[in-house]
Symmetry: C2
Subunit: 186 residues, 2 copies
């Protein structure tokens, strides 16, 4: 039994789910990105679409992650990011990024040496501006939006671009106030 | 220890590889198919592209599957399909289709009740002609091509279309003769 309940929840969440070979995901994702690059000459548009897809996924898996973490809401954005890294990433990608705070209380950094999405990927120099794994940033933004935190997540380091590790900078933009309509929905 | 060496090889292959949550694959694949449907009005073109992507994947993972099965070549197409189902499918998708022969020695059937690629997928009626998981047929065709068997693989039953199980019909078209150039390459 792990002494950190969230870490244990992440482990349990992983055990509870069905798995596939990670290279099947990385190849399928590679096909998706390649198709988007063919469709849109503008790399910024590709980056935006992969982020939007990620946001859709993040919102979709959020409830599942919360139920595994045995919480229904978070006290603050840091707690939401702890659940995202210790339960969400562990459950979906079988990795657990290190969450670091910074002197600026609105800025957090997630770092993880291994990214299953981009293993064996080589980016041609003409696509240097691509945020290849932007879908992960979208997942973080989408999941946190559902938890009522607007954040902006962006890769600042990527192994696939020659960095020694992967780092995502998460900026807390604002808390999303509860709407009267939301109260009626719950 | 399993008494069937191929089954054991499949189990070992699965243990040796890195895994991710299967729903991440099914959602990513769903995004890919959706993008292709947007790009090509013709569903037949989508079916062809997903099969071609699968063929690329099949060729790419073939060596890995063979090394796990501890064989370098196959005696006949049935043996190639046995390795594909017992080692390849097990290693990549964590499922093991049942391989059935038919009265026609050129026709084989792979059946599997669960398809991780299409779990939680609903196909709108206007896309009824889509061979949603055609990428799997492509993987079979690509892997067998590398093993020198030209086959044609097609879904004949799909749970996602209301059938009680998934079935792929594999037709052995011909053995692919070894080329002089291939001998020099090895």
């Amino acid at each position: 039994m792990n002494s950190d309940p969230l870490q244990q929840a992440g482990e349990n969440a992983w055990q509870d789910t069905k798995h596939v070979h990670s290279s099947l995901l990385s190849i399928t994702y590679g096909c998706l990105v390649e198709q988007l690059v063919k469709d849109f000459a503008d790399i910024e548009a590709v980056n935006e679409i992969t982020k939007r897809m990620g946001s859709f996924i993040g919102k979709r898996v959020c409830d599942d992650v919360l139920s595994h973490a045995q919480v229904s809401k978070c006290e603050n954005v840091k707690e939401a990011l702890q659940i995202t890294t210790k339960v969400g990433f562990r459950m979906m990608l079988n990795i657990q990024p290190t969450l670091t705070t910074t002197p600026d209380p609105k800025i957090f950094v997630l770092s993880f040496p291994e990214n299953p999405l981009s293993s064996n990927v080589e980016i041609p120099t003409e696509l240097n501006d691509i945020a290849y794994s932007n879908i992960i940033c979208g997942v973080i933004e989408g999941a946190l939006e559902l938890l009522r935190y607007e954040v902006k997540a962006d890769f600042v380091k990527e192994v696939v671009k020659g960095d020694h590790t992967n780092e995502i900078r998460v900026e807390h933009i604002r808390d999303i106030p509860e709407q009267i309509s939301d109260i009626f929905e719950t």
